[in-house]
Symmetry: D2
C-alpha cells in the first residue's frame, strides 16, 4: 500500500461539480425522516421560495426533481410542448448540442442555428428567424446561457429583446446550469419561461437535483402540452408541492443542503457572489494573457465568468496538459469536448472559491503546461492574477 | 425557543426511507471530484457488479439513474416497450396503482387485474389471461413484489411459473423497491426481465438512485422499443457505463454510499439479512396477535417481511394513532393510503434494524394505540415479540 | 466476513459517555483553524458565559481543560489547596473513592467519612465533623453529587446548610460529572466553590473536556495555593481566556460541539431537561418495581435521575446479564464496580434520550435477565414504564 | 448578514493545528460507545502498537493522554523525575522556554543553556555540561527537536552522541510535537527516553491527545519518581492499557481518528512522508530566497522541514503581514513570538499538504507582503517553488 495515498486536497477546477462548502457538507449529514410527517413542510415550503430568488423570479414556480440537470432539460420541454412543435435553438458547443439532441428525442422539431464554437447565441439571427416565422410555428427559443464547453456566455437580455422586436410569441427557455448562482440571471426581466439549472454548479451541492423555474405562461402551456411525461410531470409536483410534499421520495440530504447553500448565497449577497465570480474570472484571464495564450471565447463579450477554455499552442495536446495536471499536481481541469477536443483545457472557476484556491490552480496549470512543453514563463500568470486581485480588493 | 427541541432520536418506522447506517453515512461525506477523471471508474465499475448481486442476476445489466424509484419504473417501461404495447398488471394496492398509472401515461395499454387489497398477484389469473392472449399482444407482465401500502408480498416465482405454464413470451417486470435487499429476490431464477428498486429502502441510503437490472432479453427489446425517452435512455447509460462513466453528472455521495451499503449487506450476508428481516417481521406479527388485532394482509402467505399494516378496530381512525405516535413519542409510522385510509397504520421494519429498535417502536405503538382509545394490554405485544426473539436467537 | 456486521444501532445505556445528538455531531465536523486568529474569540468568549449558566453560577469562572473529568478533579484541588491541607470527604461509591485517592496523591490529608454504598453524603455527620474541627484545619468538603456506581444522588443543598450550621469556613467542592446538565445543580445557591464536570455526560459530547466552575473564593484561594500544577494551572487559563484564547492548542471540535450542545439545552429549557430526566428515571424505576427487583439506592431520597443500579437476585451474576445484553441484543449496560461487582447492573438514563429509546433498553434488560435465569414477567417492566410515560405526558 | 460569508477555504499555514484529511475527518464521526465493552480493545490494542512505529521505537511504551501536548510534557517529567532533580535544557525559542518553565513549576532544577534564537541545541555545550557534572546530578537532558517559533530543527542524534561521549547516564527527553510524523524521528537509534508529541501536527488530527513514548529506562524510573502526579500517572495508564482500556473515559473520536491517520501515514509510507515535507519545505525556502528575504534559522543545518520563519525587512511589522494575509486573502500564518515578535512571519508546511496548497499559500504571502509594503517581485517566490517542484517530481 505504501505510496498509494495522495496527500493534501485535490484542486477541483472542472466546471462542475464544484466544491461543497464545509457548512453545506455538514447540513447534508441528516438522519432519514418521514417525508410525509407534519413538520416536513417546514423544510420544504420555504425552500421553493428561496430557490426562486436565485432565478430572480417573483411568480415563477420552482420544481425540484431528483435528477441531474439533463432531467431538468427534459422536464422543461416535455411539460410545455407537444410532439412536432417547432423550437429554435442556436448551437455553439457541446451542451447546446446535447440539449438539441434531447429536444429531438422527445419529439420536437428543432430549427438549429449553428454558430461558431467560441461565440454564442446571435440575437440578430434569432430575430430574423422569428420574423420569418409568420405563422408562429416556433413555440420556443432554447438558449444555453453559459456554454460550459467553450467558456462562452450569451446575452439572454439581448435574446429577449430580439424576440420582442420580432413581435413573436415564442417562449424563451434558458439553460442556466453553469451560470445560475454564479453569473447574473434575471428570469423576470428577461422573460425566461423555463429557466433550468442543477445542484452541482453555482449551488455548490452534489449533483442530484434538476431544477426548473417555470413562468406562469409556461405553466399555462403545461396544461395542454402533449409530450409524454410521467416522472418529470409538473402537475404531480405542483399538487404535492402545494402543501410541502413530493409525489415520490425526495433526496433528503440534498434538500437540507440546498437550504444551507441558499443561506450561503444570501449571506454573501447574490450580487457580491456575481462580483466575486467576475473578479476571479478576470484574474484567470489576466493569467492567460500573461502566458501569451488565448481563450476559446473569441471576444471579451463572450467571456464566461465561470469557466475559461484556454487554447493550447499548435503541436500540443490539451489532453496531455490535463493528464499531467491530474497525475502530477492533483489538479482537475476540464477537457476539450467534440470539435475542440485536444485543442484546449478548461479552468472551471465557479462555486465556493477564493483567490488563493485559484492561484494554486493557476500554479498547477503553469507547471503542467511547462511539463507538456508549452513555453510559458513560470509564475507569470500567477503574478498577473495576484496583481489583479490586489488592485481590485475591497478592504 | 425553550421547549422547541425534541430530545433523543426519532424512531423511523415508515416503510422507507430507512435508517442509514453510521458507516454508510460517513461514506457519503465526500468532497466533490471530477467524474471524468481516470480514477473514477475504480469506484464505478465494481459498483455495477456488486449491485447486480443484490438482484441475484448473473448477466443482467444494472442501471443507476439519478432519480427516485418512480424514475426506474419509467426507465424500465420506456426503454423496452412501444406506445400502444399491451401489458398485464395486477392491481392490489397504492403502488401497483401508481405504476399502472405511469404505464398508461407513457402510452401503454394496460390490462388490469384487480385483486382485493390485502392480497397480491394471482398466478392462476395471470396464467389464464396469458392463455387467453393467443396473439401474444401482451408484451410484459408488471408485478409489484412487495406492496408497501398493504404489507403484502406476492410470489414472483409462482408468477414466473404461470407465464411459463401459459407458454407465453411476455416479459416479466417486477417492482422490488421495498423488497430488494430485504426479502429474497431472484432475478435469474424467476426470469425477471426488468427488476426495479430505489436506494432508500433495503439499500439503506437516502433516496436519489433509481435502479434497474435488465435482462439480456430486455436489453434486446430496448434496441427496437419506441417509447420516447431521453434522460432515462438505456443506450446512453450503456455506452458511458462501459468505461465507468455516466452520460451526465452522477450523484457522487450516493455512489460512495451505495458501495458502502453493499459492503454492509455482504458482511452481514445476504441470506442472513433476509433471515433477520423475517425474524423481526415475525416479532412484529407476534405483537399484533398479542394485541388482538389483525393485519391487512389476509393470509400468512401474503405477509410482508418489510412492512406490517395493522388494522385498527372499528370506530378508531388509524391516522389518529399515527399522529399521536409522532407527536407524543417521536415514532414515525406509515399511514393507510387510498382504499385503506384511516383503517390501518403501517410499521415499516426494513433496513438497518435490530430487535431493540423494533421493541422500542412496538412500545410506541402500544402507547399511541392506548392514547387513541384502542384497548390493548400494555406490554403485551412487546412481551410476545421479546419471547419470539429470545426463542429464535442464534447465539 | 459474512456475519461480521451487527445491524442497527447500539443501545448505549452506560452512564456515560452518552449519545451525541445529530446536530452536535454535525457541529463538531470542522476544519482545523488558527486558534490565535482574530475571530477565534467570537467562538470562545460566549462559550465561557454559556457554560456558566449550566452550573447556575453568576460570577463563577469556567475553565475548559483538554482532559477527562478526572483532570478537572485534579485542577480543582491543586489550584486551590496546598500540600498537607485537610479536606473532608464522604465515601460511598467508586467515584467518591477515586476522587479521594486522587486528593491523597496530590498531597492532601483526607478525612474520610465512609457511608454505606447505596446511600450518600450525610449532612449531619458532615456538620458534626466540621463542628469538631475547631481550628478550622479542614479547608474543603468534597462531595460527589451523583455517585454513578450506585445510582445515588446526594443532597448538596443540605450539605451547604450543614457547613453553614457548623459555622465553618471550609470551601465546598462538588463532583457533578454525572449530574450537571441532567439533574438540577445550583452552584450559587448551594455555595459550591469548585463545581466539576466533563463533556461526556449531560453535555452530550465525546469525552475530552474537563470543566471546572470556580467561585470567586476559590479563585482567591488559587493565588496562594501551593500544590504543584502546570498543565491544569488556573492562572495560565485565566490570562489567556480573558481575551478568548488558550495557553495551549484547544480541542476545536469539542469547543464547537459544546456551543451546539449548550444551544440544545437552552432550546429544550434547562428545567425541562431536568424534568425529562426525572420522568425517564421514574419510568425506569417503575420497571424495576414491576420486575420485583430493587435498586442499589436504599431509599427514594437517594434515587438518581441519571443512573439506576438494579440489584440482581442471589445466585445470579450481574455481569452475566450485562454480557448477554451486549452480545445478544446490542445493549450496553453499566457493570457493578468494586464492592458491588456482580451484584447489580446499571442502566444509565441520561443525555439525549426519549421514552422509546429507554423502552427499547428496558426490553433488552428483560430479555437479558430472562436469558440469565432471572424470573421476571416479560413485558412487565416495559408496561409499567409505558403507563408512567402515558400518565405524565405533557401534550 | 450580506457580506458576512467568506467564500472558499481558509488556507491554514500555521504550524499546527494542521489540516485533517477528509478520510480522517470521516473516521472521527462515530457514535459514542461503551469504552468498557468487550470489543473496545479491538480498537485500542493495535493503536498502541501502530503509534509506537511513528516514534521508531521497538519496545517503548506509548501513552495516550486526553490533553494537549503540554500535558505530555508534564506527564514525561512528573512520572520519571523527583522534585529537586536537575535537568539540562537548551533554550532557543518559545517552546523550549515554555517547557523549561513547566519543568520548574513541577519542582525540577533546570540548568538552562541559552542559545541564540535561530539556532538550536549545541551538542558540544551539552557534552561539556555533562562532563562537568561529575556527580551525575543531571538526571535528564530536555531538547525541543523542532522549535516551532523559529523554524529550527536540532540534531537529536548529535545530542545523543554528546551524552554518550560524556559518558553520562542522563536520560534524553525530546519534544517532537512539531516534528514527529513529519520529520524523521528515531527514538531507539537516538536513545530517546521520553518522546513527546500531540495529535494536531504531523498526526493530522485535532488537538486533544498528548502522546508520550517512554523507553524501558524511563518506565523503570517512573517506579521511584516522586513528582506529584495523578491525572498523568503512567502506572494507572499502564494497568488499564494492558487490556485495552483507560483509567478514565477516553476521547473516542480522536482514537478512531488516530487509527485512520496512522493508516494514512502507512499508506503513503513514513519515509515518503518525510521526503514530501522536505520537498515542500525546500520549495518554500526557494521562494524565500527568490523574494530576497532570509529565514530566522541562521544556517541550513537548522532549517526546519515543518515551519519556515521568514524575517521581514527593517521597518516592516511582521504582524501586519499576517493580519493582511488573514483579512484579505484568508491565509493563516504564524506570528513571531516573544523575542522575535513583529520581526517575522511563519509559514507552517506540515501535515496533509501538497504542492498546489503551498503554492496558493505562497501567492498569499506575496500579496500580503506587497500590501504591507515589502518590495518583492510578484510571482517570484511562486515561480521558484514551482520550478523546484517540477525538478524534483517523481513521476
Amino acid at each position: 500500500m505504501a505510496g498509494s495515498r495522495r496527500p493534501g486536497r485535490n484542486f477541483l477546477f472542472v466546471p462542475g461539480p464544484t466544491n461543497v462548502p464545509e457548512r453545506v457538507q455538514r447540513a447534508m449529514i441528516v438522519p432519514m425522516e418521514d417525508h410525509r410527517s407534519p413538520v416536513f413542510p417546514d423544510l420544504t415550503l420555504p425552500l421553493f421560495e428561496e430557490t426562486r430568488k436565485i432565478f430572480k423570479s417573483r411568480d415563477g414556480q420552482v420544481f425540484l426533481f431528483p435528477s441531474s440537470g439533463t432531467g431538468a432539460w427534459e422536464a422543461a420541454l416535455t411539460n410545455t410542448l407537444s410532439p412536432g412543435d417547432r423550437v429554435l435553438a442556436p448551437r455553439f458547443g457541446q451542451f447546446s448540442t446535447l440539449w438539441i439532441d434531447l429536444a429531438q428525442r422527445v419529439g420536437l422539431d428543432v430549427e438549429i442555428q449553428d454558430e461558431a464554437w467560441g461565440t454564442g447565441a446571435d440575437p440578430a439571427r434569432i430575430e430574423e428567424a422569428l420574423r420569418a416565422d409568420r405563422e408562429h410555428r416556433i413555440k420556443a427559443v432554447l438558449v444555453v446561457h453559459n456554454e460550459t464547453a467553450t467558456g462562452v456566455t450569451s446575452d439572454i437580455g439581448a435574446v429577449r429583446r430580439a424576440i420582442d422586436a420580432a413581435g413573436h410569441p415564442a417562449m424563451l427557455y434558458v439553460d442556466g446550469v453553469s451560470s445560475i448562482g454564479s453569473i447574473d440571471f434575471r428570469a423576470d426581466e428577461w422573460g425566461v419561461d423555463c429557466a433550468i439549472t442543477g445542484s452541482q454548479k453555482g449551488l455548490m451541492l452534489p449533483a442530484g437535483l434538476g431544477i426548473v423555474c417555470a413562468s406562469q405562461r409556461a405553466l399555462a402551456a403545461s396544461r395542454t402540452a402533449e409530450c409524454r411525461r410521467a416522472y418529470f410531470d409538473f402537475a404531480d409536483q405542483t399538487k404535492a408541492n402545494a402543501t410541502g410534499y413530493f409525489p415520490y421520495t425526495p433526496p433528503l440530504p440534498l434538500l437540507y443542503g440546498l437550504r444551507e447553500a441558499l443561506r450561503c448565497l444570501e449571506e454573501e449577497g447574490l450580487e457580491q457572489v456575481f462580483a466575486r465570480h467576475r473578479r476571479l474570472a478576470d484574474g484567470a484571464r489576466a493569467a492567460v494573457r500573461a502566458w501569451g495564450l488565448t481563450l476559446c471565447a473569441r471576444e471579451p463579450k463572450w467571456h464566461s465568468d465561470t469557466v475559461s477554455a484556454v487554447m493550447v499552442p499548435e503541436g500540443i495536446n490539451g489532453a496531455e496538459v490535463i493528464s499531467l495536471a491530474y497525475r502530477r499536481y492533483n489538479l482537475a481541469l476540464g477537457a476539450g469536448l467534440s470539435q475542440v477536443a485536444g485543442k484546449l483545457f478548461r479552468i472551471g472557476h465557479l462555486g465556493d472559491l477564493n483567490e488563493l484556491m485559484l492561484l494554486g490552480a493557476l500554479s498547477g496549470c503553469e507547471m503542467a503546461m511547462r511539463d507538456a512543453g508549452i513555453r510559458i514563463e513560470p509564475g507569470s500568470g500567477v503574478a498577473a492574477a495576484q496583481e489583479h486581485f490586489r488592485e481590485t480588493r475591497e478592504s
